[in-house]
């Protein structure tokens, strides 16, 4: 994504490829959130409580949305079965569809080359493209299996709704938004986070707008890079706090 972003490979006609790529990133976060909730130990229970509470601040439908997601007023066994269904049914289906669409779009428009790179590269979907993606996927899977075997995550204390553990924290990939929500008023934090996600998804059009405002200045690249670095600062800040 960094390479696509800096080289602005999302420009017309590849806007939708970027949108589906960004959706894959968000779906992965969804897998992380629902999966972490399934652990159902004390920290996971309270992380789920805090995470779903945010939905309550959505105007008009927030309360109903919260109830539907949890299957009750609080996180309870119904929530567990709902999150399980999301984790093994809804999200994998969406993920498969998004991957398929992303792949079709990549094949349709081809992979963008760097500006100024004279080489033109074309390759077949099978076996070259499949082989390359499968190799990367299998190496990552192998690394994950080795890591999970060498350092099994283990379980904490069982979930206890009557006892809030002293240090509730989400998993590391939510550190930036968690830190941001602690820095600003809750409602402001939720809306700005939603704005950040929307900006990421619709970045091709935002960048095109910036390009029209200041042609050739690469405002989008600098603005996006600053936003990216700010996110990393929040990540490290939350980890160290």
């Amino acid at each position: 994504m960094i390479r696509v972003f800096v080289t602005r490979a999302y420009r017309r006609p590849r806007e939708l490829t970027w949108v589906f790529g960004a959706s894959l990133f968000l779906l992965t976060l969804g897998f992380g959130f629902t999966g972490y909730s399934l652990v159902y130990d004390s920290l996971s229970y309270w992380a789920t409580t805090v995470g779903t509470n945010l939905l309550g601040d959505v105007p008009v439908i927030g309360h109903s949305l919260l109830w539907v997601l949890r299957g009750g007023p609080d996180v309870n066994p119904n929530t567990l079965s709902r999150f399980y269904n999301f984790h093994i049914g809804v999200l994998p289906t969406l993920m498969a569809l998004a991957i398929l669409t992303h792949l079709v779009l990549v094949r349709l428009h081809g992979v963008a080359r760097l500006d100024g790179d004279p080489r033109r590269e074309t390759y077949h979907f099978f076996p070259e493209h499949v082989l390359r993606e499968a190799t990367i996927g299998l190496v990552l899977l192998l690394a994950l299996v080795v890591y999970a075997t060498a350092r099994p995550p283990g379980l904490g204390e069982p979930a206890d709704p009557s006892f809030t553990p002293p240090h509730i924290r989400p998993e590391w990939y939510f550190f930036p938004s968690y830190r941001w929500l602690k820095m600003v008023p809750m409602r402001v934090g939720i809306w700005t986070s939603a704005g950040f996600v929307a900006a990421m998804v619709f970045w091709p059009w935002i960048d095109a707008g910036l390009e029209r405002v200041a042609p050739g200045r690469r405002l989008g690249v600098w603005l996006g890079s600053a936003g990216f670095m700010f996110t990393l600062v929040l990540l490290v800040w939350e980890a160290l706090s």
Partner: protein, 160 residues
């Protein structure tokens, strides 16, 4: 932006991402290891039937209402000398013997010291449990209280 400049920017952003993940990952892993060790110690306690019974006595007589779940403390007691809050019980084993603790539970704390001598009397005091808790229940409760420990990293305290 030239090809080289783009490559440099991609490299810089990627390196920043990797460095941030390494810092966050290593700090988080260290913190998790400490927390797990603490949780394992608590699970060991739960495996001891006497401590499990003592925990039940602790909640049956509503000790947790003032001293907090697991003796963590925190109930507000305005102008109490212990920082305006009811004391936690995570340090009792450092300041009391089992016999002294039993006596304390039996007689209670009828007069809680004031933080500000000119301020109001703290509204809460510990009642005497002499007529309520005795025998095996008292022994289980004291065993449980003496087993409580502060989380790792928390400074030792003389207060109980």
């Amino acid at each position: 932006m030239s090809l080289t400049a783009q490559k440099i920017l991609v490299a810089l952003l990627s390196i920043a991402l990797v460095v941030a993940l390494i810092i966050a990952g290593s700090v988080d892993a260290r913190r998790d290891a400490v927390a797990r060790k603490h949780a394992e110690a608590l699970l060991d306690d739960a495996a001891n039937p006497q401590l499990a019974r003592g925990r039940a006595v602790y909640t049956r007589y509503s000790c947790n209402a003032c001293h907090g779940a697991g003796g963590a403390g925190g109930m507000s007691n305005i102008n109490a000398e212990s920082g305006g809050k009811v004391n936690g019980l995570l340090h009792v084993s450092e300041t009391y013997t089992a016999t002294e603790l039993m006596e304390k539970i039996r007689s209670g704390v009828p007069n809680v010291g004031k933080g500000d001598p000119t301020g109001p009397d703290p509204p809460l005091h510990m009642p005497a449990f002499r007529d309520l808790i005795a025998g095996q229940e008292m022994r289980d409760l004291v065993a449980y209280l003496m087993s409580l420990r502060p989380p790792p990293g928390e400074a030792k305290s003389k207060a109980w």
